[in-house]
Symmetry: C2
Subunit: 273 residues, 2 copies
C-alpha cells in the first residue's frame, strides 16, 4: 500500500499550478488567481469516524469543520460548502448529516448522493482571501505560534467538537508569513510548514499550551486539534490568543525539543498507515 505522501506525489505529477490556479496541491487549499480558495477533504467510516461513536450530526459537523479549518489556514473567509455523500444501505439520517454540515453557519450550496458500501462524507469548502497565507512563506527567524490549546482531541478520544479558527485565520492575514492547520499534530505539521518554507526550526515542547487532560505527547502528535500554526516575522506585536512555541531556522530539520533541551523523535500519524 502506498503512503499518503506517495499518493500525493503521484497526483502532483498531473496537478499543476499556473493561471488560473495560483497555488495548487501541497498547501491546505488551492488558491485561484481571483482569490477564490478551495479545500476538499473526505471522511470515511472506519477511518475518520465510527458510526457507533458519533452521531450523524457530529460526523457532518466534523466533515465541515476540517474543511473550514483549511480555509482558516489560508486566511480565507468561507463562502459556501458542497457535500458528496456515500450512503450505505439502511442509513437514513442524511438530514442530520446535512444539519451538522450546516452547523457552522456556512451555506451548503449543493452536492451529490450515491449509494455506497460505507458512509463517506466529502466536503468542498469555497472561500475568498484578499491576502492568502501559504505554507511556504516562512523565513528563518520567524516565530512559530499556535492558537488555542493542543491535545484536546487525543485526550477526549477524538470526540471533542472541532471549532475551525476562521476569525483568527483572517486576523493573521496581515501578520503571518506562513500558516497551516494542525490536523496531524504539531510534530508533523510544523515540519510540513518548515519544509514548504525551505527552513528547519524547533518547537519547544514545554511551551505547548496543553488542553485539559492532555499530555505533551498528545499535544505534539495526537492530532486533530485543528488549531492554527503561524510563522510570524520577529518584532511584530502578537495578539493575546497566540502562544509562541518555537521558531523557524536555517536548515531542513524541524526538531521537537523537550524541557531538558534534548531533541525528541515524535512523528504525527499518516492516514494510510
Amino acid at each position: 500500500m502506498l503512503s499518503e505522501q506517495q499518493l500525493i506525489e503521484l497526483i502532483s505529477g498531473v496537478a499543476r499550478s499556473g493561471d488560473p490556479v495560483a497555488t495548487g496541491i501541497g498547501d491546505d487549499a488551492a488558491v485561484l488567481d481571483d482569490g477564490t480558495v478551495l479545500s476538499c477533504d473526505m471522511l470515511v467510516e472506519g477511518v475518520d469516524f465510527e458510526r457507533a461513536r458519533s452521531t450523524p450530526w457530529q460526523i457532518g459537523a466534523r466533515a465541515a469543520a476540517v474543511n473550514l479549518s483549511d480555509l482558516a489556514a489560508m486566511a480565507a473567509r468561507p463562502v459556501c460548502l458542497l457535500a458528496a455523500f456515500g450512503i450505505p444501505a439502511g442509513f437514513e439520517e442524511v438530514a442530520e448529516l446535512a444539519a451538522g454540515i450546516a452547523s457552522h453557519g456556512v451555506p451548503l450550496a449543493g452536492g451529490d448522493l450515491s449509494r455506497a458500501g460505507e458512509l463517506t462524507v466529502t466536503i468542498t469548502a469555497v472561500g475568498r482571501a484578499e491576502r492568502p497565507v501559504l505554507r511556504s512563506g516562512g523565513r528563518p527567524g520567524d516565530l512559530l505560534a499556535v492558537t488555542g490549546t493542543l491535545g484536546g482531541q487525543a485526550a477526549s478520544g477524538y470526540t471533542a467538537e472541532i471549532v475551525p479558527r476562521l476569525q483568527e485565520g483572517i486576523q493573521l492575514a496581515g501578520l503571518a508569513s506562513a500558516m497551516i492547520d494542525l490536523s496531524d499534530g504539531i510534530a508533523t505539521d510544523a515540519a510540513r510548514l518548515a519544509h514548504a518554507s525551505g527552513c528547519g526550526g524547533r518547537v519547544l515542547l514545554g511551551r505547548l499550551p496543553l488542553a485539559e487532560g492532555a499530555t505533551v505527547e498528545m499535544a505534539a502528535s495526537g492530532g486533530e486539534d485543528y488549531e492554527l500554526l503561524a510563522a510570524i516575522p520577529p518584532g511584530r506585536a502578537l495578539p493575546p490568543w497566540l502562544t509562541v512555541v518555537g521558531e523557524l531556522a536555517e536548515g531542513d530539520r524541524m526538531v521537537m525539543v523537550d524541557a531538558d533541551g534534548h531533541p525528541r523523535d515524535m512523528a504525527g500519524w499518516d492516514h494510510f498507515t
Copy 2:
C-alpha cells in the same frame, strides 16, 4: 432505503440560496454571486463503474466528464477541478486515475485521499459563467433541442467515452432560456427541466437523434449520454449542431410521444433503486 429524490429533498431543508449563493441545490451546479459555478459528483465502485470493466484512467476521465458536463449545462467555462479519492487496499493506480481526470485539459488544483473499503472518486468542478443558464428559465412555447446523438452509452454498455459539451454550452449562453445535461435520459431530464421551469411539454420520440446501434428506448431512458438539452425561445436561429426534439407547454406534465402520436411512459433511472 430512501429514493434519490427524497434524499435531495432532505438536504434541501438545510441547503439555502441567497447571497452569496445565487442558485443552490436542484440545478446542475451552484452559482455564486460573482459568477463562480460549482458542481460536485461522486462515482462509486459497483454503482457507477466496475473496476473489472473500466481502467483507472477511464474511471478518472468519466468522473471529471460528468462534472464538466454539469458546468456545460450552466454555460460555464471550467476553471479547475478538485478530486477526493477513496482508495481500497491493494489499489495502486492513483496516478492513472488522476491522469484520466486531467485528460480533459482542465487543471487538477487539489484534492484529498483516504483509505476506503471501495474505490470512490468525488470531483468538484469549478467554473465561471457570465450568463449562467439555469434549469428554471424555460417558458411555454420554447423549443427543446439536444446536442449530439442519444442512446450511445446504453448501446455501448456504458463504456463509451464521455465528451462534456463545454463549447456548445458556452455558445448556448445567449440563446437558451434553460438547460440541463442528459445524465439519466431525456425522459427523466426533460421532465426535470420542465418542472424547474414551471411548465409541461412534449418530446417527440421519432425526432430523437439516435446514436449508432441505439434504440429509441436507449435514447430516451438509457441515460449517461451527457448531451445538453436546451429550451430555446421560438423564432431564434439555431446552430446546426442542435436537433429540435420537442417543446415546452403550459401544464405540469412532460410527455414522451411516439411516432403514432401516443404518449409513452418511459422513466429514466434512479441511482438509488
